[in-house]
């Protein structure tokens, strides 16, 4: 078990270094960083001095090593656009994205699993057909269109929910939260639904097909033959056996939710990391883009580690592999 975690952590570090390399390359290959820093009329010898100061003349491995060391300490340099430390810029945007993604993920997971179980158990029920039809729409509509349609209906026609922004937030030290004000909560609804809808339908369809499959297995038939109650069979035996693939997909999708929030945040002018990233791209703010890249990779690595640990909790067959076998 411990060896497994260490192995996975090691793999995670390798992934982070690879992503770090890509992020670092941005500095050198997307234009000359000196050009981004100084004015157009700076003389050549001053440019050369600055280049020497910043260590840009050092060999590539040394520069990359310096980038990694600084990155580990949370130092990703200054934003070109705002002349502030990148970590502070991103840190101020992080809570908005995390809260939005979290709510979207919870919506997707709770409704997705619930609807999936229902459609899996009662494939012929009218409600199941409705769920499946609606889910087709959810899968096929692009996120920005869903967002715009929701704004049209709930903000423009009905006028019941705000169409942009985050509402009022409460600060807890460095963290700002919209969970504790009514405007904050109301502002959260539309973007969270938009962001979670696709994942919801994906999870629902996955749970449904897994459930249909598991209900045909011998151990479910045998459980029936032993006279167990439907509740014990459906939720005790069947649902747990659908969990491994659901955990895999949900884990990956949680990463995707954070990454995809770029689009949703743009549509709803949500002051999160995604919006920051778009603004940074527009102004070629390379330190922010590179840091965003590293940060998203970190999310994926951490989520995947959690997914692997959850496998262990769910499936005993994984716990006992290796030479010991029976004990």
């Amino acid at each position: 078990m411990l060896a497994f975690i260490i192995r996975r952590l090691f793999q995670g570090i390798i992934v982070m270094l690879a992503v770090g390399l890509v992020a670092f390359s941005l500095f050198n290959f997307v234009g000359d960083p000196i050009n981004s820093l100084v004015g157009i009329d700076t003389p050549l010898d001053e440019r050369e001095k600055l280049r020497e100061q910043l260590g840009l003349n050092d060999p590539f491995p040394i520069q990359f090593g310096r980038f990694v060391l600084n990155g580990v300490q949370g130092n990703f340099g200054l934003s070109y656009r705002m002349s502030e430390p990148v970590m502070r810029v991103i840190g101020s945007r992080l809570p908005a994205t995390v809260e939005l993604s979290l709510v979207a993920a919870i919506i997707a997971l709770v409704l997705g699993v619930g609807m999936g179980v229902f459609t899996g158990l009662y494939p012929r029920a009218a409600l199941s057909r409705i769920f499946l039809t609606v889910s087709l729409i959810g899968v096929s509509l692009p996120t920005f269109l869903t967002g715009i349609l929701l704004i049209l209906v709930f903000a423009v026609w009905l006028g019941v929910l705000p169409s942009f922004g985050r509402g009022d937030v409460v600060s807890f030290g460095a963290w700002t939260s919209g969970f504790f004000t009514s405007t904050g909560l109301r502002a959260l609804i539309l973007p969270a639904v938009t962001l979670g809808l696709f994942q919801l339908t994906l999870i629902m369809r996955l749970v449904r097909s897994e459930m249909l499959e598991v209900m045909r297995t011998d151990y479910i038939k045998f459980a029936r033959a032993r006279g167990l109650t439907d509740r014990a069979i459906n939720f005790g035996h069947a649902l747990k056996n659908t969990l491994v693939p659901v955990i895999t997909i949900t884990g990956l999708q949680l990463g995707a939710i954070i990454a995809f929030s770029i689009i949703t945040e743009t549509v709803f002018s949500w002051p999160g990391m995604g919006q920051l990233f778009i603004q940074s791209v527009q102004s070629v703010d390379i330190p922010v883009m590179a840091t965003y890249l590293v940060l998203i990779a970190l999310f994926f690595v951490v989520i995947n580690l959690c997914v692997d640990l959850l496998y262990y909790a769910v499936d005993p067959r994984l716990r006992f592999d290796g030479s010991k076998g029976g004990h």
Partner: protein, 344 residues
């Protein structure tokens, strides 16, 4: 217990199982009647698709849709169970009728310890505390011959070998001390050496508990070893039913004779193994008259027109016109010379 002597434990009368399909309704089990006495072992043999497993599934009320019982009665200790609601039938399953399935590797839920599955089943049917149920589960595991049951109870199914898993499955079927066990191919998925052990175990447990068994299999050897009586099924009907020694030694129905002739025996002086030409008809293509007539060496004119019901034949009963006073009529084919011509 309080059953009247001589009253059968299980009685199946004129059971019909149908499968509605797009191209009409298929009759998978057609007018099957038999009974099982308390403590008796009834073997049910037949080829794949003969309807033997479906008969078992119909008795425990677990036919897979769209299959359904279309006619007949099923009585357990004198009480009709084929018309019970799903929830009433659920209480019969496990408590009064246990089931053992073919593949022990897939019959157990891989995510729970065998102890959890045993305790869950015991507590569903018997009012016991968790601790009492656990004690009973350990006793059951000991009874089915699992060594170190106190430790093994907390192991997961994948930590058991195939034979040991089938023992666990048997323990699960015995949780609430049912009066009848339906064993559907309990040894088919096991190694030959382990098959004998499992058969011996089922025999011993049933003797000790007085449990009746309906043993569904296509293995005539298992039947000869275990059963008191045997029913031979063909194309959804019982072809022959009788005491096991009688059916094995003096097969009455031509199909049974063919079946017995095709079994190799170790050390016997038997010559060439015979083979029944052709194969069992599909449910959509059952011929008129006796379903076996296209393959039957004894078939006569009457066999292609009129369908025989079970007729007394020695100490057995056989669904064959040979045992009717009027006979089969003029023979359709010459015995022994036919096989080459049939396929040509």
């Amino acid at each position: 217990m309080n059953a009247i002597p001589n009253q059968p434990l299980l009685e199946v009368r004129n059971l019909r199982v149908e499968f509605p399909t797009r191209r009409g309704t298929l009759l998978a089990v057609d007018d099957v009647s038999f009974h099982i006495a308390p403590g008796e072992v009834l073997g049910v043999v037949g080829e794949s698709g003969a309807g033997k497993s479906l008969t078992g599934a119909a008795i425990i009320g677990l036919l897979e849709p769209p299959g359904r019982v279309a006619g007949g009665e099923i009585l357990l200790a004198g009480r009709r169970i084929d018309q019970l609601s799903y929830d009433e039938m659920r209480k019969v399953r496990g408590a009064q009728i246990g089931a053992i399935f073919q593949d022990p590797l897939t019959s157990l839920n891989p995510l729970y310890t065998v102890g959890r599955q045993l305790i869950e089943t015991i507590q569903t049917h018997v009012k016991l505390t968790a601790q009492q149920a656990r004690t009973r589960a350990i006793d059951l595991l000991k009874e089915v011959g699992i060594p170190a049951a106190e430790q093994r109870i907390d192991h997961y199914p994948h930590q058991f070998s195939g034979g040991m898993r089938q023992r666990v499955v048997i323990a699960l079927a015995l949780c609430a001390n049912p009066k009848l066990i339906i064993a559907d191919e309990p040894t088919t998925a096991l190694d030959v050496s382990i098959q004998a052990q499992i058969i011996a175990l089922i025999k011993r447990l049933c003797r000790e508990h007085g449990t009746a068994v309906m043993l569904v299999t296509h293995d005539m050897g298992v039947i000869a070893e275990t059963a008191d009586r045997v029913a031979v099924m063909y194309a959804g009907r019982i072809a022959e039913i009788g005491p096991v020694r009688e059916v094995v030694k003096n097969a009455r129905h031509p199909y049974t004779s063919g079946l017995m002739g095709s079994i190799p025996s170790v050390g016997g002086e038997q010559g060439k193994l015979t083979q029944i030409e052709g194969s069992m008809p599909r449910l959509t293509e059952i011929p008129p008259g006796c379903a076996f007539n296209p393959r039957c060496p004894e078939a006569g004119e009457r066999c292609v027109v009129e369908r025989p019901d079970l007729l007394p034949a020695g100490r057995s009963s056989a669904a064959c016109w040979l045992y009717d006073a009027a006979g089969v009529g003029r023979k359709l084919r010459q015995p022994q010379t036919v096989p080459e011509a049939v396929n040509g």
